[in-house]
């Protein structure tokens, strides 16, 4: 199918690219790093390419060749296939197709279109649009009740803050674009290789890449300096995978001479990455949704009030206003009190607009931005070895970090480091690898333990460390078994080596396990140095030997072992085998039974420590037997029917009567602090699920190791049914054990479900009778996720404390998260590090990417990027909790202050003939939200801490209110409303009743409108300031400056606004000349203010003080203890040290893939298969 045709004619050939990754995200080949090939000819490729390579002037033999690539894109484009035509190295022709050039543009604005475009975008927001409409309403003179600037100024400020933020973001994007666009690359132009910038590359250009160069385009490989046109690419920047992927040029181009140029066809905005960019849906928090609902409520409330006031106005006009016309005739257009009432409705709509706080959204944005900065700035989330701080990539989700209930975690690279370390081994019945102290006592290996000195071996890997000297001694002594053991490790593998500098070997391993084994052999003196398809060169204790590679009996999931057959320099044929203990045991020669028993004991020990184990064995093969076998093998390989079966039969024939050498133990290193973190998160009632592509054994082993499962659990269920019915039964059985009554018809949840509630409905929380764990594998999960089992699955799974889902495809990971989101009112968090976690990260409310593994894909799609799993507890319990608390305090206060502020107009309406008269000076209305009260509330929501970080980590229970959203919900909102009504009532009637009959000491009355306004607004500002002072628990200097400073600033502005100069300059705008001077020097004014403050604040203090006394929540009790401890620091709370007892569990995880052996040993015939198998492999 992929045969290229040389010579005349054109033959389209199809590469089924995306086919290996069904339902995955489209693979993005946008900046791939070349690693292995010294040079790489490639031809950059777009989404879909049809290209005719014609006339490559510097190579006659390629006069006419043609190929066409049709690639089906996954997901939303699955159905649509496009064909792309291009001619290699022919810019003139390609330009006629109108492909874009390779300039990357992620920025949104330019200098010229910024203002209109940004404004247009901003007015698409509901809140801004509302205020714009309001502004237009205000311009209608008939209903205008406020000066135009009361809306314009706040709106301008809000818009400009957002615009500045957008502008800064966009400048950053411009810089990034420039950086990427200006990278240089070698390109063939007019028959010569020229250096050019990536942004000038066009579709059809042929480019030349060198090793370790980044690739900033979708390219098609034409030719490589490596044999068979192979290249090894690293896609870490795309999907986080550091293992190499093999790419092979199609055969028609692969014979290009080394010094030829390469072909690139390319389109900046059309590359896969760019195509996939920006499609991610904008995540919104629960708080955002709640706010939308509340704003709607406010609108209704507002409408209601306006309606009441309009009716009041109608009645008043009828009874009083009609007669008052002598003094104030109705406007001409007002024919009756009804008309007047209708107009008044709108007038009040304008006046009461401050109920919908204009600065709410912009304040929320600023607060989230600030709290995100704290995450970026946190030194305790900075990972020094990788030089990476934590990163908040989204600034809109902060408070949700404080509400997480479910954490979905990947395993490899997230819980574990994905670093395999050769830790221990058992050779011929002797165990090696424990550290010993001077007295020969076994000690726990720690940082201080002396490492083994490998200086005798010049080719040793300096990063490798081992703590048991006895093994080296045995090695040096020339122990036969030890030598054979390491020889076996250095021969039996599929690792590729690279030696750029003499003596500095770099291994490229398919699986980290294998790399660890070969590296161990290398350090102990059996250095695998290089290989060809027929030989393996090993440096044995300094002496170079070449083994002839006769066959690789490749690994497969069924066989769980791999073998190599080599001819030693001494002309002996040897088979070396390594594989799972369970399998290998049965293949051993009966003579090593006793050794086997000893080794099995050792394996148990290894497993107990959570190590991954492999058995190693060998067999010396009679030459004649090998020849016969080799013949059978070739036949099997060539057979057309049942080839796989036949081959495995042949293999089985060879892999028997093995002599046991020993066993290896590899540590799949957990990341630092993972068990502690999970314990802490569990205490915070966060449920952790592991969703992994790994095998059940490995996953369960890790689950135990990191405390997701505990030995003392009441039960662990395994769901592994292969059809609907078994899965259902397994799930129901599990549920029966956890909560027997939940299967009864009378169970409230069942009754609820039987009513067939309409979507979306929520399944309530169910409490099981103990701690349970559940393991489900991907196969069963596929059934469980089908329609009618969904709820069954969800109810069972949610009762478990820990859940392991193994053998999951990326899509399933996302489905599980989606399921949870659909039926549970909870916040989910997904954490992962690889491309296979991307879908889950995108699906969850919060996606966290682990960085530092050189991977980018997960990080690029995440909302928060941290470099260690253990930082999650800090992210959630400290930053999340603070963000949530701050956001809640902010919202409560913000709504309160606006209600108190606005409702005053409502009360005043009853005394001003419902004439839409405002209580305050228009300037106060303009500045109230924007200037007078913004900074204190900002300082509250940026600096406040109810308890410090130490306490919030020590008492994870404090996290609980966030999960149930106790601090700001509809109930709390109503409380704010009630408080606001009360405050406005007090703030209106106290001044009114006290002022209306009182006079100045020189007889002048003080109950004029302007004095009253001033009095009321000052009292209001004092009340809200004292209120926020009460809300603030953490008084920093900044809080003091902001809180009291704002109040002081109010008085300064007051004197400015009411000063002679300003008022005389604009007498009709600033009308309050001298009011401040005449009013604020009256003692009774201050007494009124004090009285109002006292009456407003006392009930709040009383409530806050009494509530925890009479109705204490769990949090209150903990807070009490904390306060007690802070006051008496003599009693430091002791934190129980975690003890883990590792379960006795064997782990076999041979994480690499079948087919690599074949690539090594065979020639071109096997290439296509290899190519297919590996090109789109995903890390498990």
């Amino acid at each position: 199918m992929r045969e290229g045709v040389v010579g005349g004619g054109t033959l389209p050939l199809t590469l089924p690219w995306g086919a290996r990754a069904p339902a995955q995200k489209a693979l993005r080949w946008r900046s791939v790093k070349l690693t292995s090939a010294r040079q790489w000819w490639c031809f950059s490729e777009m989404k879909y390419i049809k290209c005719f390579i014609s006339e490559i002037p510097w190579n006659y033999s390629w006069y006419y060749s043609a190929m066409s690539l049709v690639e089906s894109q996954s997901e939303d484009r699955q159905s649509e296939e496009q064909v792309r035509y291009l001619q290699a190295n022919s810019r003139e022709l390609n330009s006629t197709f109108g492909y874009p050039n390779n300039t990357i543009k992620t920025s949104r604005y330019s200098v010229f279109n910024f203002l209109p475009l940004n404004l247009f975008e901003q007015f698409q927001r509901l809140a801004n649009a509302y205020f714009l409409i309001l502004l237009f309403l205000q311009l209608i003179p008939q209903i205008s009740s406020l000066a135009w600037y009361t809306t314009v100024i706040p709106l301008m400020v809000v818009l400009s803050i957002t615009a500045v933020k957008d502008a800064i973001d966009d400048v950053k994007r411009h810089q990034n674009d420039n950086h990427v666009n200006n990278r240089s690359v070698l390109v063939v132009m007019n028959g010569r290789i020229k250096e050019d910038k990536w942004m000038n590359i066009q579709v059809g250009d042929i480019i030349k890449l060198k090793n370790n160069q980044p690739v900033t385009a979708d390219v098609l490989l034409l030719s490589s300096s490596e044999p068979y046109g192979l290249t090894y690419i690293e896609t870490a920047e795309l999907d986080g995978e550091t293992n190499l992927k093999v790419k092979q040029s199609i055969s028609v181009t692969s014979n290009l001479e080394d010094n030829l140029g390469l072909l690139s066809s390319f389109d900046g905005p059309d590359t896969k990455l760019m195509q996939n960019c920006g499609k991610s849906t904008f995540k919104r928090t629960h708080m955002d949704h709640l706010l939308n609902v509340l704003v709607l409520w406010i609108f209704l409330f507002l409408g209601g009030m306006c309606f009441i006031l309009a009716i009041g106005h109608g009645i008043w006009e009828n009874k009083k206003g009609y007669y008052f016309q002598d003094f104030l005739p109705w406007e001409e257009y007002v024919s009756s009190s009804v008309v007047s009432a209708i107009l008044t409705f709108w007038s009040y709509f304008i006046i009461l607009n401050t109920m919908v706080p204009i600065s709410l959204y912009v304040s929320v944005e600023i607060i989230r931005l600030g709290n995100s900065c704290y995450i970026n700035w946190d030194r305790k989330m900075y990972y020094a070895p990788k030089n990476t701080p934590a990163q908040a990539r989204t600034t809109t989700l902060n408070e949700e970090l404080g509400q997480v209930k479910y954490v979905f975690s990947d395993k490899t690279g997230t819980l574990t480091q994905n670093i395999m370390i050769f830790n221990k081994c058992s050779i011929n019945g002797i165990i090696y690898g424990y550290g010993y102290d001077k007295n020969g006592q076994r000690v726990e290996v720690s940082e201080e333990t002396e490492k083994v000195d490998f200086s005798y071996n010049k080719l040793a890997d300096p990063k490798f460390s081992f703590y048991d000297n006895t093994l080296v001694e045995a090695m040096k002594k020339g122990d036969h078994w030890v030598h054979l053991f390491f020889l076996s490790l250095s021969l039996c593998h599929t690792v590729m080596s690279e030696e750029k500098v003499e003596g500095k070997l770099v291994y490229q391993a398919q699986s980290p396990d294998e790399g660890a084994l070969v590296t161990a052999a290398r350090n102990f003196g059996f250095v695998f140095r290089s290989r060809t398809s027929e030989t393996i060169m090993v440096v044995e204790m300094g002496e170079t030997k070449v083994y002839q590679l006769l066959a690789i009996l490749d690994f497969s999931n069924v066989r769980k072992r791999m073998s190599v057959i080599v001819r030693t320099p001494e002309d002996r044929v040897m088979l070396f085998c390594k594989g799972a203990d369970t399998i290998l045991c049965q293949l051993l020669h009966p003579s090593c039974r006793s050794l086997r028993d000893v080794t099995m004991e050792h394996l148990d020990d290894f497993a107990f420590e959570g190590l991954r184990t492999l058995m190693v064995a060998y067999r010396e093969v009679d030459n004649a037997f090998y020849q016969a076998w080799s013949k059978k093998h070739s036949e099997a390989c060539l057979s057309l029917e049942n080839r796989e079966d036949k081959i495995s039969d042949v293999y089985r024939e060879m892999e028997k009567d093995l002599m046991l050498l020993g066993a290896t133990a590899i540590e799949d290193k957990l990341q630092d602090g993972v068990p502690e973190t999970i314990t802490t998160l569990n205490k915070a009632k966060i449920k952790i699920w592991v969703l992994t592509g790994d095998k059940q054994e490995t996953a369960v082993n890790i689950a135990y190791a990191c405390n997701i499962f505990e030995e003392e659990m009441d039960g662990i269920f395994i769901v592994e049914g292969k059809n609907d019915e078994t899965v259902r039964q397994e799930l129901r059985l599990a549920r029966k054990k956890m909560k027997p009554e939940s299967l009864l018809e009378s169970d409230p949840v069942n009754t609820y479900l039987n009513t067939k509630p309409q979507m979306p409905f929520r399944i309530p929380e169910e409490v099981p009778n103990g701690n349970y764990g559940l393991i489900i594998n991907g196969y069963s999960l596929a059934y469980a996720l089908e329609g009618n089992l969904e709820l069954e699955l969800l109810r069972t799974v949610c009762m478990c404390k820990g859940v392991i889902c193994c053998r999951m495809t990326p899509l399933q990971k996302a489905q599980v998260v989606e399921l949870m989101k659909r039926y549970k009112e909870v916040v989910t968090l997904a954490i992962g590090d690889g491309a296979n976690d991307v879908s889950m990260i995108k699906a969850a409310h919060i996606g966290v990417g682990i960085t530092g593994q050189e991977g980018m894909q997960a990080m690029l799609n995440s909302d928060y990027a941290i470099s260690q799993f253990c930082y999650l507890q800090r992210l959630l319990l400290v930053h999340g909790r603070w963000s949530y608390n701050r956001m809640c305090k902010f919202l409560s206060y913000f709504f309160y202050k606006n209600f108190a502020f606005t409702l005053m107009h409502f009360w005043y309406a009853f005394f001003s003939g419902f004439s839409a008269q405002t209580v305050y000076d228009t300037w106060f209305i303009t500045f109230y939200n924007l200037v007078y009260t913004s900074l204190p509330v900002l300082s509250l929501s940026l600096f406040d801490q109810d308890v410090n970080e130490t306490w919030s980590l020590r008492f994870p229970e404090l996290y609980d209110p966030g999960q149930h959203n106790l601090y700001f919900n509809k109930k709390e909102f109503v409380k704010c409303l009630v408080r606001g009504i009360y405050s406005s009532f007090v703030l209106f009637f106290i001044p009114m009743k006290t002022i209306h009959n009182s006079v100045h000491s020189d007889g002048k009355e003080i109950s004029d409108y302007q004095s009253f306004s001033l009095l009321v607004q000052t009292a209001l500002l004092c009340v809200v300031t004292v209120q926020i002072a009460l809300d603030t628990t953490y008084w920093t200097l900044i809080s003091h400056i902001f809180t009291w400073g704002s109040l002081g600033f109010y008085f300064c502005i007051l004197f400015l606004l009411y000063s002679d100069g300003l008022c005389l300059m604009f007498p009709n705008v600033f009308q309050f000349l001298g009011v401040a001077r005449n009013t604020l020097n009256l003692p009774q004014m201050w007494l009124i203010i004090i009285l109002s403050v006292v009456l407003c604040i006392l009930p709040v203090i009383g409530y806050r003080f009494l509530k925890p006394l009479f109705w204490p929540a769990d949090v209150d009790k903990i807070m009490n203890r904390i306060h007690l401890w802070t006051r008496h620091p003599l009693l430091p709370p002791t934190q129980t040290k975690l003890r883990h007892t590792r379960p006795r569990r064997s782990a076999y995880a041979f994480s690499h893939k079948q087919g690599f052996g074949a690539l090594i040993t065979s020639g071109k015939t096997m290439k296509d298969k290899v190519f297919k198998k590996n090109s789109f492999s995903f890390k498990k």
């Binding site: 030089n387 004439s915 009959n997 000491s1001 200097l1037 001298g1074 203090i1101």
Partner: protein
Amino acid sequence: MKRTSEESQSRLPDNSALKQQQLPAYWLQLTATGVLSGFFATGVFCLGVGIILILSAKSIKEIEIKYTKICGNCAKLREDATNFDKECTCSIPFYLSETMQGNVYMYYKLYGFYQNLYRYILSRSNSQLMGTDLKDVGTCAPFSKSHDGTPIAPCGAIANSIFNDTIILSYNLNSSIPIEVPMLRSGITWWTDKYVKFRNPRSKNLSIAFAGTTKPPSWAKPVYELDQEDPENNGFLNDDFIVWMRAAAFPTFKKLYRRLNRIQYFTEGLPAGLAYTVTGAVTWLAFFSMMAIHLMLKDRKMFFTEQ
């Protein structure tokens, strides 16, 4: 060397108190002692202030005389708008049982007069009242110009509806000829109003200064003839006018009308025990609102009760 270059590349966040959220701070906690003592202290403070205020309010004497009904005839007369320029007087005798010592102030009080209506309160021109631009009547609707287009000075609904009853307090020393109690019509406005906010147009003669404008429709006299006795008290600087122009916050309000000139018999205040007569020359307003004259003695504090 290598170390320093590594350090300069380090992305380790700054160790500043702000960035690490370690700012030195005081933790505010609601403790039992704090809350209870706070409550107690507030209570004591309010109680103390309350007592002081009640005591000081007791020394204030107040007499309120409502004349809406008593002068009902005049009110009737005014109901017919054509009679707006006819004078109508009525007298109300009353008896003062105790001497009102110290300063005595006379107020007029209007019930249910909505000076705080939105359109009413806006219907004035501050730039006109400052005397800078008499023709600036843009904000004065519906009383900005007369029918023939002449700008009204002072324009607007507030000025047009000025309270223009004349109230005279007489003292019957010995049932013969009543003595008119001497009253001051100055010093009843805010200093800032009288000297900053309100200005007459610059000219030697006010009537010339106001040329080109017309009087408000409900006024009997032009603004420069408001006070026949004191030429300084005319135009926009007329104290009664300034007091009226400071719109009240509530529909029931009182405004300072006159203060006692403490001379002759009245150096100590208003002597007790004798009959007084209030004569009101009600011109046109009375029909609408009920009015009262307050005689108030002011010592130092005014009555201000709380708690």
